[in-house]
């Protein structure tokens, strides 16, 4: 599965520049470079080789490291080698490992926040359908879904960082200071969670309303269960299923880099790295981040599938 995904990602990355008529080697060297240097880079990066050779070289590099030779100089990239960025003169793997924790912290923290807020708001809305609370939550949720991150992010920056001076708007690594890290992450978390909490509130409300109409909820009441138990035990368990599916996909995608949030709050995560790489046409970095993203989505979905089987016994059979 992973191999297939890597193949697909690769093919896209190697074929697209070819189709678009972009010569990667000359874009690395610069437009006015002499043809020999261009050929040297082309040889060093193996760009002249067929795709399957390039893929094989990349895979070999993951486990054995890789040495780029060509045009008279030698560049070594030790295992696991995710490629080497000649643009920024560094191996891709350390870039990924440096930036991954930042993105992971952002995604997980925001996920906790949006799950707690979104799901509880959705449940309450379902239980008080048509009430003032329900309507307000749905209006807020609608605005949360509609407002783009770059708007809410800049708005919160201008209010809480530049207006009220509550936060300094700087990122502090977790290993330096927990409180510093936490303080720096609060705004990004809230901004990201606002969008997702809105979506989760809507889906929770809809699912909960549907579940409350199920026959087995009536059965639970007919047993003499307290309404509180009917909701928290019988209805919630069924409501969790679609929420979990969404969570798997969203987390997977976010771990690949929340580009807008990271850029707005200047968080040195994968999203920011990939954006910079795109600006600089730094293909190896883009490739590395994309692979990590695919991997994250894959793993997140795997975890969801396993959790699914835990929640829904009917899945275990099939």
């Amino acid at each position: 599965m992973l191999v297939v995904i890597v193949m697909v990602v690769f093919s896209i990355f190697f074929l697209v520049p070819k189709w678009a008529g972009v010569d990667i080697a000359s874009s690395f060297v610069g437009k006015q470079a002499d043809p020999a240097a261009v050929e040297g880079v082309r040889e060093k990066l193996g760009l002249a080789d067929p795709i399957y050779v390039q893929v094989w070289e990349f895979f070999k590099g993951l486990f054995a490291g890789r040495t780029y030779v060509g045009g008279g100089d030698v560049t070594h990239c030790s295992a696991p080698c995710f490629g080497y960025s000649f643009r920024s003169e560094q191996a891709v793997w350390p870039v990924l490992t440096d930036r991954f924790p930042v993105t992971l912290g952002l995604a997980l923290g925001a996920a906790v926040l949006w799950l707690v807020i979104g799901v509880s708001a959705g449940v309450l809305s379902a239980l008080k359908r048509g009430s003032l609370w329900d309507r307000s939550v749905m209006v807020v949720a609608l605005s949360g879904v509609s407002l783009p991150i770059y708007f809410t992010a800049l708005l919160s920056l201008s209010i809480f960082v530049f207006g009220l001076n509550w936060f300094d708007g700087q990122y502090t690594p977790l290993e330096d200071s927990f409180t510093g890290w936490f303080g720096g992450m609060i705004l990004p978390w809230i901004t990201l969670a606002f969008l997702y909490a809105a979506m989760y509130a809507r889906i929770t409300r809809a699912t909960m309303l549907e579940v409350l109409g199920e026959d087995y909820i009536r059965t639970a009441r007919a047993k003499g269960l307290k309404e509180q138990t009917v909701i928290s035990k019988h209805a919630m368990r069924s409501t969790m299923t679609p929420i979990l599916t969404m969570l798997g996909m969203d987390l997977g995608a976010l771990i690949g880099g929340a580009i807008l949030t990271e850029t707005a709050f200047n968080l040195p995560g994968l999203g920011q790295a990939v954006l910079n790489a795109i600006r600089n046409q730094d293909l190896p970095i883009i490739l590395g981040v994309t692979l990590i993203t695919s991997l994250a989505v894959l793993i997140a979905n795997l975890v969801v599938d396993v959790l699914y089987a835990v929640i829904d016994p009917r899945v275990r059979l099939s």
Partner: protein, 365 residues
């Protein structure tokens, strides 16, 4: 609780509240109305009956005649957990073992649910929670009303599954509903409903969607369990065969009202309402030689928002024009005694109906 004791103390007082009944279950003038955008749906519109312990009442009628709404009303499930929806309007009195349920504190009624009165729902596949094992669901039902640990409750669940005839109950107790066959799910549902030895058991379409052999087994089971526990049973069905098997009394519903009520053999052999005649005529019978095709009741069930004035059955009744002065279309007929413990609501004269039944209807069945 104050409501409860007040109505309990109302016996003999001239407050307008009627005295507590002697019957185990007595329903008086029950009305269940649902406000909707299209108008008020009168699902049950003035229903009264009594039921003694150890007896079985069969409620029959077409879809939408108010059978299930009545049973949910007795269980108090129209008012439990109605979120934001427009509330059902319920009036009348439901007396269960000396307690009036409609005016009682909802939490007291909740405590009665599952213990004093319990219900077997139709379609157990959707009525059982798909994520919990059969055992977990029965254990839960038991532990709500009994302060026992999980082990004891599980032993009880296994015992109940055994009693309803599920093979290898100690293994099957850990199965999920989807791992059971349709008949087994029904048995599991019955086991769950009976786990607290309820005094009143309501079975809503207990055999629909089951094949005939399993149907017979389920009916046998209900009969045996009734003998054992002495519970009162209400069987709700549109299948007259089921009622013939089980019921001591039959109540025929049409358009949310009772059109005929009486002992089973009376309703089957001396029915006194044209709708009951129609039901009997549309029932396939194997015990008699069939001479003609089944006779369907013409037309379709009435809209519960716009119940026909007069007798609700008048648009479909072949005899609607017989009574004088168009009375079937203007005056709602009241239940009138047509025999011992046998009532029917019809404008036709008693003798007239006897004549139509014996001369026109009975020979064709």
């Amino acid at each position: 609780m104050t409501e409860l004791s007040k109505s309990g103390a109302a016996v003999g007082e001239p407050t307008g509240a009627s005295p507590a009944p002697t019957a185990f279950l007595e329903v008086r003038d029950l009305k269940v109305h649902f406000p909707t955008d299209d108008g008020l749906v009168k699902s049950v519109d003035g229903l009264s009956f009594q039921l003694e312990k150890g007896k079985t009442l069969g409620i029959v009628g077409e879809s939408g005649s108010g059978k299930s709404v009545t049973s949910l009303g007795i269980m108090g499930l129209h008012t439990a957990g109605q979120y934001g929806k427009r509330k059902a309007q319920i009036s009348g009195e439901i007396w269960l073992d000396g307690t009036e349920l409609l005016s009682a504190d909802p939490d007291d009624v909740r405590k009665l649910r599952g213990r004093e009165m319990s219900m077997i729902f139709q379609d157990p596949l959707s009525a059982l929670h798909p994520y919990y094992t059969i055992g977990q669901q029965i254990v839960e039902a038991y532990r709500i009303h009994h302060d026992v640990d999980k082990k004891t409750a599980k032993r009880r669940a296994v015992e109940m599954l055994d009693r309803v005839g599920i093979p290898q109950p100690d293994k099957r107790v850990d199965s999920h509903p989807h791992e059971f066959s349709g008949g087994m799910r029904h048995r599991a549902m019955i086991a769950m409903a009976l786990v607290n030895n309820p005094e009143l058991l309501i079975a809503d379409e207990p055999t629909t969607a089951l094949d005939v052999t399993v149907q017979a087994q389920i009916l046998d089971l209900l009969r045996d369990l009734q003998k054992e526990f002495g519970s009162a049973i209400i069987v709700i069905t549109h299948d007259l065969g089921v009622v013939a098997e089980l019921a001591d009394d039959i109540l025929v519903m049409y358009g949310g009202r009772c059109v005929e009520r009486g002992p089973a053999e009376k309703v089957f052999y001396e029915p006194r309402h044209p709708y009951t005649w129609g039901l009997l005529g549309s029932m396939p019978r194997l015990d008699r030689e069939q001479q003609e095709r089944l006779i369907p009741v013409k037309g379709s069930p009435p809209s519960l928002i716009n119940i026909p004035s007069g007798c609700a059955f008048n648009p479909r009744c072949p005899y609607a024009d017989l009574p004088k002065d168009n009375v079937t279309r203007t005056v709602r007929p009241e239940l009138a005694e047509v025999g011992s413990r046998h009532w029917a609501a019809c404008h036709l004269g008693k003798e007239q109906r006897e004549r139509i039944w014996t001369e026109e209807i009975a020979p064709k069945l």
